[in-house]
């Protein structure tokens, strides 16, 4: 069998980015959450915020470390496996990647050291400032990388000379048509993912020990935040979808498994799309609802896949199911948040066993939604790597053989199957210990060592204050 370097390179990129994106999905949100807790501690002086922050800093540092090393791999993929892409797009895209490094990576790296290890060495305001800078760094990083990704989806501000892209308008390149929507939708998605992780951890701690003051604060604060974030995300998702319909109609047609251009498009709830025959089987649908969602009118016309030449259509099944998974998880999230309003009103937010169980179940759901959304948008823009202009098949490094890529893929797979589960296990272990053992520095030593307290034992007092 002939090994295809293109297919294997795509598989390798998908493998690397899918694992990598899980880390920013957590660290972008956690960095802001930690900065919030550090701010509350700085301004109110209440130790409970300090312990919550110290607890999450431990988890953050593990996730961030894995995010860094798996992130360093990404830009090198452009060279090793996608050198034609690099040659063709670098004039336009490379400055965006470089600005990510200049504005974000150094900021995060320099201030992370102070955040993790510097509490004893710098004044309190400087430590809070470090937390703010790390959070800012994660957001700047998202800004630039999503600007670059959005340009590949909706290119603007360029001209093509000798088959390569050249910049004509930098503002149009950075703020290309899909960027504001993608940026907002992704960052809010990351925040929500983190929010449900925090809520799940709080639920775990409350199930184990109902009077856990830190867990109560975490859960209460985070559910307020999610009350704001989840409905906003549904709105942002709708806007992003309309933007995609305008600029990438083939992607939306794939997401909806819609082959024919029709008015009053039904919403397909389930089907088995078949790319070869350009048709669906076993379809369950709601009449006219698809048009209502996409055009905000019952009889709106939506383009079908048959309007596009067969060699310019994305595969349908993957975006179709991934999109449904993402939306389904979004609806579950809304249900959980809405239940929290009811329980809070009844004063039972922390002691409803079913709600705590639901929160535990929702813990990893944000990650699945992020992966599903990413799959939708990335598979949905195929066969293009720069939409409508550069085919993925024309972007791969010409010197690679299938064997080369198979070797690297096997090594990347083996490495990630060690690193990521180990990381998850290490983070879960921090969770098991809980926030009440957190004392600010990365120390595992007990508060009382050899009969002498290594620092004043004040846990009991704080517990009353934080309830």
């Amino acid at each position: 069998m002939e090994l295809d370097p293109l297919f294997l390179s795509r598989l390798q990129f998908a493998w690397l980015i899918a694992w990598h994106i899980l880390m920013p999905a957590l660290t972008v949100g956690l960095a802001s959450f930690i900065a919030l807790m550090e701010g509350l501690y700085f301004f109110t002086g209440r130790e409970i915020y300090f312990r919550i922050s110290a607890f999450w800093i431990k988890i953050f540092s593990v996730a961030f470390g894995i995010g860094v090393v798996s992130g360093i791999i990404m830009p090198f993929q452009f060279g090793t496996n996608w050198s034609r892409y690099s040659d063709v797009t670098a004039n336009v895209l490379a400055p965006l990647f470089a600005y990510e490094g200049l504005t974000a990576f150094f900021l995060e790296a320099a201030f992370l050291g102070v955040l993790l290890f510097g509490r004893k060495l710098v004044p309190a305001w400087a430590h809070f400032f470090a937390a703010l800078m790390v959070a800012l760094g994660t957001l700047l990083s998202s800004f630039w990388i999503l600007a670059a990704n959005s340009w590949m989806q909706t290119p603007a501000g360029y001209r093509v000379v000798d088959g390569r892209f050249f910049p004509t308008d930098w503002l149009a390149i950075v703020f290309n048509p899909s960027f504001p929507y993608r940026f907002a939708h992704t960052v809010v998605g990351f925040y929500i993912t983190t929010g449900f992780v925090v809520v799940a951890v709080a639920a775990y701690l409350l199930r184990r020990q109902a009077a856990n003051a830190e867990a109560r604060t975490m859960m209460s604060v985070t559910l307020w935040l999610l009350t704001l974030l989840v409905p906003s995300q549904i709105l942002l998702g709708d806007l992003h979808g309309l933007n995609t319909l305008e600029h990438q109609p083939a992607k939306v047609a794939a997401m909806e498994a819609n082959w024919e251009t029709i008015s009053g498009m039904p919403l397909v709830l389930f089907t088995l799309p078949d790319d070869a025959t350009a048709s669906n089987r076993f379809t369950v649908e709601v009449p006219k609802l698809g048009s209502l969602i996409l055009t905000h009118s019952l009889d709106g016309t939506v383009k079908g896949l048959k309007d596009f030449p067969a060699d310019q259509r994305p595969p349908v099944a993957l975006p179709f199911f991934a999109f449904r998974a993402m939306v389904g998880i979004g609806i579950l999230m809304l249900v959980v948040v809405a239940s929290s309003w009811w329980l809070r009103w009844r004063g039972r937010l922390f002691d409803s066993p079913n709600f705590l169980r639901a929160c535990l179940f929702m813990g990893p759901m944000g990650f699945l939604a992020v992966l599903a959304g990413w799959t939708t948008t990335e598979v949905g823009r195929q066969p293009w790597v720069v939409y409508g202009l550069l085919r993925t098949a024309d972007a791969v490094s010409p010197s690679l053989t299938g064997e080369d890529v198979l070797i690297s893929l096997v090594f990347y797979m083996a490495t990630y199957l060690v690193i990521f589960p180990a990381g998850a296990w290490v983070m879960l272990r921090v969770v098991r210990k809980g926030p009440q053992s957190a004392d600010g520095e990365d120390e595992d030593e007990p508060l009382v060592e050899g009969g002498r307290p290594s620092q004043p034992v004040t846990v009991e007092l704080h517990r009353q204050g934080g309830a």
Binding site: G65, P95, G113, I419, W425
Partner: protein, 336 residues
């Protein structure tokens, strides 16, 4: 593209400085990782790791910046050199993964401490070796047609590139020993001084062999160094290298804490200068000059505006984070 004023020299300087910063900074912390394997007990290993725990991440960021600056300023070089180094890049990246996560995992996953200890030490050594191999294959040059690398992914593998790989392992170990002498005391410092001398011998042998071998594999480079009047102008570089090596040897035996590190930095500067002299003005050796591989003037200008503002800021706050953790490593700061 047809601008009268060219940004190419500025970008060449920024790129050269960025890569040199990377080599020095990650060089010493990879070197610390290499020497870590020779520390006999858990306490000293903890201290050795904590001497770089707060700063390694920032150091490694220069690698990303170097790669991205190359992509942005000289994309043709990136698109030819990186695929040509497919396997050394793979090995380097995977080695960096293992040594990078070892900081957190070793401390929080005590049951597998030995595994992560090995990941840290061998990861550091392997990353250093892979970078040296890249340097060697870069000096050798690549098979190119048009704008593409057309050789095989195994072209990199030659005795010469293996030698440069080994030389860089010794070089980073020397930098690491310098750092440990600076940051530690007593028996760890004593060991670092001993290891430093061992590494110095290795790196000198490496530099010597590479310097003799390079003109042999490349007639262009031989001509650059040995033609008149170049030979007179360039002779100070190898002479200064020898002098620096003697000074490092003495500093390793004396009671100076900063001397060996400064000496190692000087040694790397001279070697770097030597390589630059050999390859100038090519960015893809013997095929494309800096000017031929440059991105559009608009691209270089757009990135330069931000870079000239951000790079000093980065140096200031990175310097501050070094300043916060200044002095000898304390037992109560970092991982325990």
């Amino acid at each position: 593209m047809d601008a009268v004023f060219s940004f190419v020299p500025i970008w060449a300087a920024i790129l050269a400085a960025g890569i040199f910063f990377y080599v020095l900074l990650d060089g010493f912390d990879l070197g610390v990782g290499i020497l870590y394997g020779f520390e006999p007990d858990v306490q000293s290993r903890n201290l050795v790791m904590n001497s770089i725990a707060p700063i390694w991440d920032g150091n490694e960021t220069w690698l990303v910046l170097g790669g991205l600056a190359l992509l942005a300023a000289f994309p043709l070089a990136f698109a030819i050199v990186v695929p040509a180094l497919y396997f050394p890049v793979l090995v380097m990246l995977l080695a960096l993964v293992f040594r990078g996560v070892a900081f957190e995992f070793r401390f929080r996953d005590a049951e597998h401490k030995t595994f992560w200890d090995h990941g840290f030490c061998y990861g550091s050594a392997l990353a250093a070796f892979a970078q040296g191999v890249m340097l060697g294959s870069y000096i050798q040059g690549f098979r190119i047609e048009g704008r593409e690398f057309v050789g095989s992914s195994f072209d990199f593998l030659t005795p010469f590139s293996l030698l440069t790989g080994l030389a860089l392992v010794f070089g980073y170990a020397l930098l690491g020993a310098g750092w440990l002498i600076l940051k530690t005391e007593d028996d760890i410092q004593e060991r670092a001084r001993r290891h430093g001398r061992f590494a110095l011998i290795g790196v000198l042998a490496g530099i010597g062999m590479v310097s003799l071998w390079t003109p042999l594999v490349s007639p262009e480079i031989a001509n650059r160094w040995f033609s008149w009047p170049n030979i007179a102008i360039l002779a100070p570089i190898p002479l200064a290298t020898l002098l620096t090596a003697c000074l490092i040897w003495r500093a390793l035996g004396r009671d100076t804490h900063a001397g060996p590190f400064i000496g190692a930095v000087a040694l790397f500067s001279l070697s770097y200068l030597g390589i630059a002299v050999s390859l100038w003005p090519f960015i893809v050796p013997h095929s494309f000059t800096l000017w031929e591989a440059a991105s559009s003037a608009s691209t270089q200008a757009f990135l330069l505006v931000g870079t000239l503002f951000l790079l000093p800021v980065i140096l200031v706050y990175s310097g501050w984070s070094y300043w916060v953790f200044r002095g000898k490593v304390r037992h109560d700061i970092g991982y325990h």
